[in-house]
């Protein structure tokens, strides 16, 4: 009970920090800051989406990069066809992600534990190889986007700061949505099914329907991140759905603390910042990154958010 206001404060502080960051970038005359921060926010959306099913639903999806790719290719394919509107890109991305999540989720949810991890990975790899063989869109090499998505016919998103704020607004909206879901009737059933599925059946719930719904919601949210990421990089390739990418998303969630939505945002932030900073220090940065991850997992099962909680 006491945690809720604390979390609201933490969320306010974190999102306010993100909101003032472009001003800092201007003051420091460092335009790259906004670019990297946009990337961070896109991944934060994806990590948030993954945490919804991983942390609350107990479903460890090791194929969530597929949805990033679906979102990104929605932008590439529609733009090529002359449709540049962001809203339509979003709609197409969400619809495609929903179908993919519904089909693969319905099959994956017949399994549990390591088998669920493997089957979600397998489906994501299938999507990866599908786009690798899609020569019309560059196959392995992917395609460069000539322009970013338009908003109400305006090319406003060409401005890096405008794009940054668009992603931030989406992140905050989706964060609030995810928090509401976890506290709703639906969220209670989802969490209960993670805690003890047999108990949920014995009070009259069929966990499958709720888990599948959550899986689809999470996939759609991740596709939104993919749409924004494609706009941020102006480049779309199958690498978006590589299994490394799926692993990175899981790492971000673990980093921030499983089952803590704000932690997922913080986890994405710290993981990408570390990547930036450590890469400057040494080309062997993944070693250091791995070491830090080991330490976080060993000393705080709740990830970074657990460290803060302990200090309080």
């Amino acid at each position: 009970m006491r945690l809720i206001p604390t979390r609201a404060w933490a969320a306010t502080i974190l999102f306010t920090a993100f909101a003032v960051l472009p001003f800092l970038a201007v003051a420091l005359d460092d335009s790259y800051l906004v670019v990297i921060a946009s990337r961070i926010l896109c991944y934060a959306i994806a990590a948030l989406a993954l945490d919804l099913i991983l942390g609350y639903g107990g479903m460890v999806s090791f194929g969530h990069a597929a949805y990033l790719g679906i979102g990104a290719y929605a932008v590439a394919i529609l733009s090529r066809a002359g449709i540049t509107d962001l809203g339509l890109h979003m709609l197409a991305a969400i619809a495609a992600a929903a179908v993919f999540a519904l089909v693969t989720g319905a099959i994956s949810l017949r399994t549990r534990g390591i088998y669920f991890i493997m089957i979600t990975l397998a489906f994501a790899q299938m999507a990866y190889f599908f786009f690798v063989s899609l020569s019309a869109y560059g196959g392995d090499d992917g395609v460069t986007l000539n322009a970013r998505s338009t908003l109400f016919g305006q090319t406003i998103l060409e401005d890096d700061t405008a794009l940054y704020y668009a992603v931030l607004v989406l992140l905050i909206g989706l964060y609030l949505l995810a928090v509401a879901i976890t506290r709703s009737r639906f969220g209670r059933v989802l969490t209960g099914a993670r805690e003890n599925p047999v108990r949920m059946q014995a009070i009259g719930f069929s966990p499958f329907r709720y888990q599948l719904t959550a899986f689809v919601i999470s996939g759609c949210m991740t596709a939104i991140a993919g749409v924004m990421l494609a706009n941020q990089t102006s480049y779309v390739s199958p690498a978006f759905m590589n299994w490394h990418r799926s692993g990175e998303l899981v790492v971000m969630v673990v980093f921030g603390g499983i089952g803590n939505l704000l932690g997922a945002v913080a986890g994405a932030t710290i993981a990408l910042l570390l990547e930036e900073w450590l890469a400057v220090l040494t080309k062997h940065w993944p070693l250091l990154f791995g070491l830090i991850l080991v330490l976080v997992v060993l000393y705080s099962r709740d990830g970074l958010s657990g460290l803060f909680r302990r200090r309080r």
């Binding site: 509401a180 879901i181 506290r183 709703s184 009737r185 639906f186 969220g187 209670r188 059933v189 969490t191 209960g192 805690e195 003890n196 047999v198 108990r199 949920m200 059946q201 014995a202 009070i203 009259g204 719930f205 069929s206 709720y210 719904t213």
Partner: protein, 249 residues
């Protein structure tokens, strides 16, 4: 009239017939105890009746409707609930949330995504009433995982009650409870008699003979006798198969 009508129910694990052409009739409103030595197949029977375990054959009719092939959650929705011998709760939820979840399952859709469930007074009030009935209302805001064993047994019963069953299948509700906790649970079960039809599996013979309207004796997957507690106590076949064993040891 019989609320539960079981005919030729079968289940085998390999060559072992755990439930062997079992017949059982439970009248509406009665407390029907099922006793039998360890390994007689009592818990398997509850699992089959509740739909948690599949059956190899036979018929389970609840209020005239065939239940075979229906999964557990759909049997609960028509009024067949169960409790577990090995406590099955949501350890990370509070006691109140455990029970409120059961209330939620039968009151409206759970495909609601926006309004906070913790603030639904109707769910909480009903959950609190169920906790009060089993005597652990003061534990409402404790994490279920942190409750004592006896309190978890009480919670288990409160959850089952909160589903508002017409037929409640109780699998050793007294297992591992202390004297005071057991007394409380026996009192609750006595209070339920008449309102809810009860099938009770229990090793505590004092409780069984004090509570039951009728007793069935299960041995090697078959009911060998059914009758009033007095009749069962005097049945020579039962004494030989079961009670006699206990008196002899």
């Amino acid at each position: 009239m019989n609320l539960l009508e079981v005919r030729n129910l079968r289940k085998s694990y390999g060559a072992l017939k755990v439930t062997d052409d079992l017949d059982l009739s439970v009248e509406e409103g009665e407390l029907h105890a099922i006793i039998g030595p360890n390994g007689a197949g009592k818990s398997t029977l509850i699992a089959q009746l509740s739909g948690q375990a599949t059956s190899d054959g036979g018929s389970v009719r609840f209020d005239g409707t065939e239940m075979m092939g229906r999964p557990m959650h759909r049997r609960v929705r028509v009024g067949m609930s169960r409790s577990f011998q090995i406590t099955s709760i949501l350890p990370g939820f509070t006691a109140l949330e455990n029970v409120a979840s059961a209330v939620q399952a039968r009151s409206g859709s759970s495909f609601r995504f926006f309004s906070p469930v913790a603030e639904e007074r109707d769910l909480n009030d009903q959950a609190l009433a169920a906790l009060d009935r089993v005597g652990i209302a003061d534990r409402a805001f404790f994490n279920a995982g942190s409750l004592s064993h006896g309190e978890k047994r009480q919670l288990e019963l409160a959850i089952a009650l909160a589903t508002r069953p017409r037929l409640l299948l109780l699998d050793e509700p007294l297992a591992g409870t202390s004297g005071a906790e057991a007394d409380r649970l026996i009192q609750v079960m006595r209070g339920l008699k008449g309102d809810v039809t009860l099938v009770l599996i229990e090793h505590d013979m004092d409780a069984v003979f004090a509570l039951a309207d009728r007793v069935s004796v299960l041995v090697y997957g078959r009911i060998i006798a059914t009758g009033t507690p007095d009749r069962i106590r005097d049945d020579p076949q039962v004494r030989a198969a079961y009670l006699g064993e206990e008196e002899g040891t």
